[in-house]
């Protein structure tokens, strides 16, 4: 009943007391919003600038050759005649070979790591495989030049020639640097991407499906291959496209083992050239603006190609994750 005068009401210091409800001090929020918005816009501006610069700095050759640049077979800096076909050919062939080798191994590993290995072992092994993705391209090139190519020369190519030598793919002399060597190095480089993304997609497939299949008396392999895989199929294709996009743009490792020769040959054992490799090698040697424009135009072609493939990949992976969430 007595009025409680002992307890003094403690109030926060003046600066922190609640102010009136008027809008007065919204500026902090607005300023912050503007700052982050500007950063977001900077990204759009930078990307736009990139595309523009690629277009502006290839205008000379684009106007000179038009679309025929894409199927021109000659790359002659001396006579200023430039065609992209040898490089498109080399890029496509090495990437295709890389996929052919990397997909079975990558997918096999992903299936093992997602479906069969106990979780802790799977996590540890996946970590190691993902470390492979962190190895820089130039290191792969280093190992490619001094380890892989001699190995291919001593063991693999003789075996290939003995068994499949009748194919035009494996005819002719093997000097070490070649489309084949580049394809193999690329394959090693893209395996981690296939493993990593595919494993993620497989793990996202709900467990009900596995239980349903096993309860029907399916073996582990049948459960994985016939029931889990189909649900993950789109995402796995997405991972393959991602790996392809990566392979198309690879520069250093390729240029160190491909031979850097702008020719188109049916044999994989012959040297070749890719878009990324020729830009890397000749950019600093380019003596005229026209020459540089040709190289930048090649960059534009590569840019377009990778955007396209990446776009397809994202679409595939996105639709898979949406289905799994149902």
């Amino acid at each position: 009943m007595a009025v409680d005068t002992q307890v003094a009401t403690v109030r926060p210091p003046l600066a922190y007391r609640a102010r009136g409800i008027l809008r007065g001090l919204q500026t902090g929020d607005e300023a912050a919003y503007l700052i982050v918005l500007t950063s977001a816009m900077a990204i759009i501006v930078l990307t736009g600038l990139l595309v523009l610069e690629l277009f502006w700095n290839s205008s000379l050759t684009r106007h000179a050759f038009g679309w025929s640049f894409l199927w021109g077979r000659t790359w002659d800096p001396v006579f200023q005649k430039f065609g992209a076909l040898p490089f498109i050919y080399g890029t496509v062939v090495t990437s295709a070979l890389a996929l052919l080798l990397a997909v079975p191994i990558g997918l096999g590993s992903a299936l093992f790591l997602a479906e069969l290995a106990p979780r802790r072992l799977s996590d540890a092994l996946t970590f190691l495989v993902e470390l492979l993705a962190a190895v820089p391209s130039v290191i792969y090139g280093l190992l490619g030049v001094f380890v892989l190519v001699p190995f291919l020369e001593a063991w693999v190519v003789p075996a290939l020639k003995a068994t499949l030598g009748f194919l035009p793919l494996f005819q002719g002399r093997f000097e070490g640097v070649s489309l084949f060597s580049a394809g193999v190095v690329l394959a090693i480089m893209i395996v981690p991407f296939i493993v990593s993304v595919s494993r993620g997609v497989l793990l996202a497939v709900p467990n009900d499906i596995r239980e349903g299949a096993l309860a029907l008396g399916a073996t582990r392999w049948e459960t994985t291959w016939r029931f889990v895989m189909p649900s993950a199929r789109k995402g796995i294709f997405g991972s393959i496209f991602l790996a392809l996009a990566r392979a198309l743009g690879e520069t250093m490792a390729v240029t160190m083992v491909i031979g850097n020769t702008p020719t188109i040959s049916t044999s994989l054992l012959a040297p070749g050239y890719t878009i990324a490799a020729v830009i890397a090698n000749e950019f600093t040697e380019a003596t005229s603006d026209f020459y540089i424009h040709a190289l930048v135009e090649l960059g534009l072609v590569l840019f377009g190609l990778t955007i396209l493939i990446n776009g397809v990949a994202r679409l595939l992976i996105l639709t898979t994750s949406r289905e799994a969430a149902r």
């Binding site: 001090l25 902090g28 929020d29 912050a32 919003y33 982050v36 918005l37 950063s39 977001a40 900077a42 990204i43 930078l46 990307t47 600038l49 990139l50 610069e53 690629l54 502006w56 990558g106 997918l107 096999g108 590993s109 093992f112 290995a117 092994l125 970590f127 190691l128 495989v129 492979l132 962190a134 190895v135 820089p136 130039v138 290191i139 090139g141 280093l142 190992l143 981690p192 493993v195 008396g217 073996t219 582990r220 392999w221 049948e222 996009a245 743009g249 690879e250 520069t251 250093m252 160190m256 990324a276 830009i279 890397a280 950019f283 600093t284 960059g299 590569l302 840019f303 955007i307 990446n310």
Partner: protein, 282 residues
């Protein structure tokens, strides 16, 4: 009880074995790479290598001190350019990120992420080297910096998204401004994740060579300031590896080992931080 057909069991066993073999192959390659680089490179990694400048062409000996410093400079610049932009854009996407414009930002960021590194080098060349009329650390830093942006955006958005909703609402309910709640509550909670993001981002671009080939180019001497062609470790590895000199090959191995060991160390440290971080905040 009759068994499942022999064929089905055989297929099962064979396929399981094959899959295990693939995994072994993948992991084996990694161990081989590490081991080989160590064997060939560690022995050449001596004090001279770390502190001396390259000798004239053809002479043996010397080191890569300028390249090591150059890499530091270029990477520092790249981080300073790329990470803040990426980070702030990540904050934008996670805190204000609904609607058509954020969707465009996300799409463009993904696009940027897919640009091949050599094309990024061409971009930096046209933007910086052409107007300046010479190679520089700035150009190299810009090329790598732009490459760092998309990764920073994605990591930041992910980590910020992971901060629980109640935490933000509690801050707002106390009468704090939105930016304050983000700065004082959301970001610090995700601070460890953001640090990890910087590290991983850095590790990703630390080994890039292609964008530097015609931006920071190369240099056999020290390159004071930011306006000169600058030696970097990856470019040196490339140059030495394709040369005809055995001594240069030896140095390329040493540099390769140094580069790979550094990148792995950053990666492992970042993962370690992440795993500790989760147990810490729960």
């Amino acid at each position: 009880m009759s068994g499942v057909s022999f064929r089905r069991r055989a297929v099962n066993a064979v396929m399981l074995g094959l899959m295990g073999l693939c995994t072994l192959l993948a992991v084996g390659v990694l161990l081989f790479i590490l081991g080989f680089l160590f064997v060939k490179g560690a022995s050449s990694l001596n004090w001279a290598f770390l502190t001396k400048l390259p000798k004239p062409v053809g002479e043996s000996g010397g080191g890569m001190a300028n390249a090591i410093l150059g890499s530091f400079k270029v990477l520092a610049l790249a981080t300073a350019i790329g990470f803040p932009i990426g980070f702030l854009a990540g904050v934008y996407l996670s805190e204000y990120g609904h609607g058509p414009f954020p969707a465009v930002v996300r799409y463009v960021t993904d696009l940027l992420n897919g640009v091949p590194s050599i094309v990024m080098g061409v971009f930096a060349y046209t933007l910086v080297v052409l107007p300046m009329k010479h190679f520089s650390a700035i150009a190299g830093g810009l090329a790598l910096g732009v490459m760092m942006i998309p990764i920073a955006v994605r990591s930041t958005e992910e980590f910020l998204r992971g901060v629980p909703r109640d935490l933000r609402e509690a801050a707002m309910a106390l009468g704090s401004r939105k930016w304050r709640s983000i700065a004082s509550v959301v970001v610090p909670t995700a601070a460890q994740g953001i640090l990890t993001a910087v590290m991983l981002d850095l590790a990703r671009v630390a080994g890039e060579t292609a964008p530097l080939l015609f931006t920071s180019f190369n240099n056999r001497f020290w390159s004071p300031g930011w306006n000169q062609p600058t030696a970097t470790l990856p470019v040196m590895i490339f140059t030495y590896a394709i040369s005809p000199y055995d001594d240069w090959h030896r140095q390329a191995w040493a540099a390769g080992f140094l580069l790979l060991a550094s990148i792995f160390a950053i990666n492992i440290a970042a993962r370690f931080l992440v795993s500790r971080g989760f147990s810490h905040s729960h």
